[in-house]
Symmetry: C2
Subunit: 210 residues, 2 copies
Amino acid sequence: MSEYKLYGMAESGHTYKVALMLELMGADWQAEFVDFFNGETRTEKYRTELNAMGEVPVLIVDGQKMTQSGVIMDYLAEKHNQFGGNTADEKREILRWVLYDNHKLSALIGPYRFMKFIKDMPDNDVTAFLKGRFEDALSILDKHLTDKDWVVLNRPTLADFSLCSYLYFGDEWGFDAEKYTNIVKWLDNLKGLKGWKHPYDLLPKGLNKG
Amino acid sequence: MSEYKLYGMAESGHTYKVALMLELMGADWQAEFVDFFNGETRTEKYRTELNAMGEVPVLIVDGQKMTQSGVIMDYLAEKHNQFGGNTADEKREILRWVLYDNHKLSALIGPYRFMKFIKDMPDNDVTAFLKGRFEDALSILDKHLTDKDWVVLNRPTLADFSLCSYLYFGDEWGFDAEKYTNIVKWLDNLKGLKGWKHPYDLLPKGLNKG
């Protein structure tokens, strides 16, 4: 049995954040497929046994369950002494970007991509609302990345893994590569890391598209 | 001059999270009004001098700027040894709820209340979308609070301050007190803490309503 079991699926950017980190660390891990698209995370069983918040990912290690990608990555960084901050200031700057991602990027791009790509919905007031908000956040991230290789330090940290996730599905929801050139450069830096894989090559898929 | 300067305004639940914590700690702090409703956070000056993310709150302490309420509260908890976790597990459980709040509660109730109350917009597809999502999250929080006085430990922590914020504006956006009875009880526990104040009694207001 692997040291880490990661519950989730390839379509979930939140699962990918953790999967990518485990893979780049060379950790002994395996994926456990969650049938999100058929409602598994809404079942009583899932909410009782895995995550009361009804979300993926869930990490199981030493019989302990952990949820929220930001929490799991923080745990892994401490344990493996990799991809985290070394000082209190560095740790806080990483947390700052993880919170920003959870509030203003993944939280908006995730549902947007779900509507546009997974559900094939036409543009509507909700997609326009989501897009307006995440485009602002992407502009801020792009500006921040001017002359920077990584988001927080001069090396990759878990903040990079958090922020990048839904951007690797960019072709599915129309990420504007012409507009966000610093983001594109940074995504290429991540791709250049030994062991990097696209979500669809790292985790089991729930759908026959993408 | 006070030890802490907190930039924000009374209408901002995110600012309130930090203001409430400072007040309950009996910290030496003062509020600095940000004219959010007239676009101050969108100005080049604000983004250069205070917060490139264009958000409130910002905390200034010892000449250092800090942003993201979750980061600021973590800093305050460490420094004052109050309202944080004592063990790594406790700290992670607090972070788990702060992330959940940032992703699924404040991030959705904030814009919903902005549309419904601040902008007096009628119900529409976007408000329905936001409401559908945050009602799910409120149900999960309410269930979690069954037989609990506080969200994470047997004492108040910064996770409580993060989650409660927009709920004290509940009359403005139609919080359903009949439905979420555990949440109501928990909000009353918070109100019972020595020094508790409503956002409008703790911070300068930007609007003549509410």
